[in-house]
Every structure is written in structure tokens, then in C-alpha cells.
Amino acid sequence: MPELLRYLLVILGVVLAPLTIAAGLTWGERRLLALFQDRYGPNRVGPAGVLQVLADMIKILTKEDWVPPFADRPVFVLAPAIIIIATYLSFAVIVFAPGIAVAELNIGLLFFLAMSSLSVYSVALAGWASNSKYALLGSLRSIGQMLSYEVFMGLSLMGVVVMAGTFDLGAIVRAQAGLWYIVPQFIGFFIFFIAGLAETRRIPFDLPEAESELVAGFHTEYSGMKFAMFFLGEYVAITLFAAMLTVLFLGGWHGPGSQSTLVALGWFLLKTLALIAVFILIRASLPRLRYDQLMEFGWKVMLPLSLVNLLVTGAVVLWRG
């Protein structure tokens, strides 16, 4: 019975924690952006403005949830759900601390890659079902962007897989007990980081949304809670990528201090939040790429780089025996 209870608690935690972080990020991102831009950001509602999240929720829930008459209704309604489901399912395989995971799959990494590919459907379907030119352009861009960045996102992780000799995320973290993979696999880390930015459609890879060109890109026609789902989906995806970077390159739960589960969880959270802060810092500093620059960067720089990285890693691992 305690085993089952513990399991249920873990599931509850894995469901609630990303949601809480994502909701908190809607406030945290604005505060951090303001910090980097010599402003204060939302600081009025509640202590330091944290209740802004609540205020936003109330506002967005009371908005009219409008489906345009020219839209393809079932697909239009389905699309925001897919993005949440796809990003959320990935959390199931992440190992937060020794034994704290919903499912320690031995193909955890592959599962994550599969799920992150699924979220392309959400964006593509949303743009298609909206039946409007801005949405369609945005979704076409995002299909091209996400598909091409997924190629080397997978490849950049293969270096880690070669070194750890497994797809199991728990085993990968355990293999980093001595040295975090960010040191031997720095190129892999760098490529995966950039691919993560592109997959979550963050600035400087926010071409699918591109407010200044495409109104709001693929979610132009969305309003109310459906729009909030996309928004939340983006934040959950950021959290997911930060967590994956932590697991794969930053040694997961490893850190100085006692080995208790709580401390391990604390280290994991700390690393994840720090990475999210870096994502936000990048958003505050860099301009959006042009579409041809994006494609060129992906195929001509990142893909060869990840291949070379994989080749060298494989050679070194073989040579060491």
C-alpha cells in the first residue's frame, strides 16, 4: 500500500509541478524580462506581483471563447489539446530524483523525442484549421522549422547515448555521477539547447508566431481558454526542455550535499529554473532570425556540427574501449 501511495503522490507531483511552474512562468518571465530591461514588471497584485497569474487566469477565463465560422471546428478545438498532451506526456519519463519518476522507461529518450515531434501536429493543425492566411503562414513556417530542427536535436543527443550506453534517462543521470555530460558533450549541449529554443518557438526562433509579421502566427484566430492552452503549452514545453537539459547534460539530481530525495529534488529544480532563466535572458537579448537564415543555420551549421560531434564521440568511446 505505501508503495502505491508513493506512486500516486509522484504522479500527482509530476502533473502539478510543471503546471505550477508554467503558470508561475507567465509572471516570472515578465518579471525577468523587466529585470533585463530596467523595468519592474508586474509587481502590484499580491506580494511582488505573484497573484498576477490569478488575475490573468480570471481575465482569460471570462473572455469569449470564439470559434471563427470559417474554421474547421473539430480540428480547431483539438489542436490546443494536442500540444498540452504531447508536452505533458514527456514528463512521464523524466527521472527527477532516484526513484521519483512516473515511468523509468528503458527507451525514455526515444519516447521524449517522439512526443516532441507530436507537438508539431498541434501547431500545424491549428494553423490549417484556422483557415486564415496568417495562421496558415505561421503554421507552415513552424512545420518547416520544427521538422528541420528535430533532425539534429535527435542527433545531438546521440553523443550522450553513446557515452552512457543507454536510452534510459535514470541510467544516463547515474552515469553522470562523476562528471556532468556538459563537459565532454559541450557541443551536444549547445546544439540541443538551440534546438530546444527552436522547438519551443522561443525568440530568436519565434517565426511561427512572429507578432510583428504574422499578427500571432498559428494562433491568430484563437481566443479565451484555447489561446491560454497554447500559451501554457509553450511554457510547459520550456519547462520540459529545461528539465531534459538538466537530465541529459547537467547531471540531473546530482549536486553537493546530502543524498536524500528532497535535496536531490531541490538540485533538479534549481538547475531547471536556472536554465529557464537563461531561456528568458536569451529572449530579452536576441532579435528574430529571418526564415532563410533559420533554415541555413539549421542545415548548414547545426546538422554538420552534430554529426561531427557524434562521430568524434563514437571514435573516442571506441578507442577507449
Partner: protein, 171 residues
């Protein structure tokens, strides 16, 4: 690539820079005396209304938000029977103040005029009229205007020469 990293670093350093925000309700911004804010109708030093209902402000107003009606009192002075400014249209350009020959209409350093209803932004004469002379303390139109008023005759105003005798031969 290096320039990107430098950009990110310099943006990061801004986290420690001084904030540009003015925390408004607690921290008031400095408003210059000539700030163009809420409009008032002033009185001359003797406490009488300055406005002579000449309609110049209403004509000058680019958005037509001033409405007034002239009336004549027992002394023969003109005054506005009503004077209405619709602040939901006013753009605070200050043209009315420029146009006014009597310094009656003046803009003040006050911008806190928020209302829940649009009608609340239509100010009537009793809302606009203040008890003092505003920015021009000593100015009294009737004492420099060159026309007769109850307490003085033509040519008795300050710095004013007596009227020219149009029938005489000498200037």
C-alpha cells in the same frame, strides 16, 4: 556567434542597472508648472469671472470639445451662461489657453481625471471655475482692455493713454 554572446552578456548586466520605472501612485512624477492638464476657468484678482464669452477658445479647439453660451449681466458685462468641456474629447493641446484674450481658461498640472463613466468627463462651468487667478496673479482684463467697465472709464486703465479726441485737430 561571439557578438551574440556579448549581446546576451550586456543585456544580463542590465539586471543590475537603475530602474527607469516611476512607481506611480507612491512616487509622483515631476510636473512642470506649464504642464497641459485639467482645464480650469479662473477669476480676476477682484474675484469676478474672467471669461467674457468671446467663443475664441471654442473656435480654436481642434476637436470641438468646448461649448458655451454668452449672456449679458446687469452691468453690461458678458459672461458664459454655461461653459462645458468634454474631456473625453480634449487632447490637451492648450490651444484654448493660447486663444483666450482674458487668460480665463488655463491648463493645470493635473492629469488624474479617470472616471468610470464617460459622462463624468463632461465638466460644467461649476466644475471648471476655480476661486483664484491661476497662473497670472495680477492680470485683470478689464483694467488693460481699453473699454469702459463699471469701476473705470475708457483710458483709465494701467499704462493706458486717454482716448484720442477724434474731433480735435491735434493728435
Amino acid at each position: 556567434m561571439l557578438s551574440l554572446l556579448r549581446t546576451i552578456w550586456s543585456v544580463f548586466l542590465h539586471a543590475f542597472a537603475r530602474r527607469a520605472t516611476v512607481q506611480y501612485p507612491e512616487q509622483r512624477p515631476y510636473l512642470a508648472p506649464r504642464w497641459r492638464g485639467r482645464i480650469v476657468l479662473t477669476r480676476s484678482p477682484d474675484g469676478r469671472e474672467r471669461c467674457v464669452a468671446c467663443y475664441l477658445c471654442a473656435v480654436a479647439c481642434p476637436v470641438d470639445c468646448i461649448a458655451l453660451q454668452r449672456a449679458v449681466d446687469a452691468e453690461g458685462r458678458h459672461y458664459p451662461a454655461f461653459f462645458r468641456i468634454n474631456f473625453s474629447r480634449c487632447i490637451f493641446c492648450g490651444f484654448c489657453e493660447e486663444a483666450c484674450p482674458t487668460c480665463a481658461i488655463q491648463l493645470t498640472p493635473d492629469f488624474e481625471m479617470a472616471e468610470y463613466h464617460r459622462e463624468g468627463l463632461v465638466y460644467e462651468k461649476e466644475d471648471l471655475l476655480i476661486s483664484g487667478p491661476g497662473k497670472y496673479h495680477a492680470y485683470d482684463y478689464y483694467h488693460v482692455a481699453g473699454i469702459a467697465a463699471a469701476d473705470k472709464d475708457k483710458g483709465e486703465a494701467e499704462g493706458e493713454r486717454p482716448p484720442v479726441d477724434t474731433r480735435g485737430l491735434l493728435p
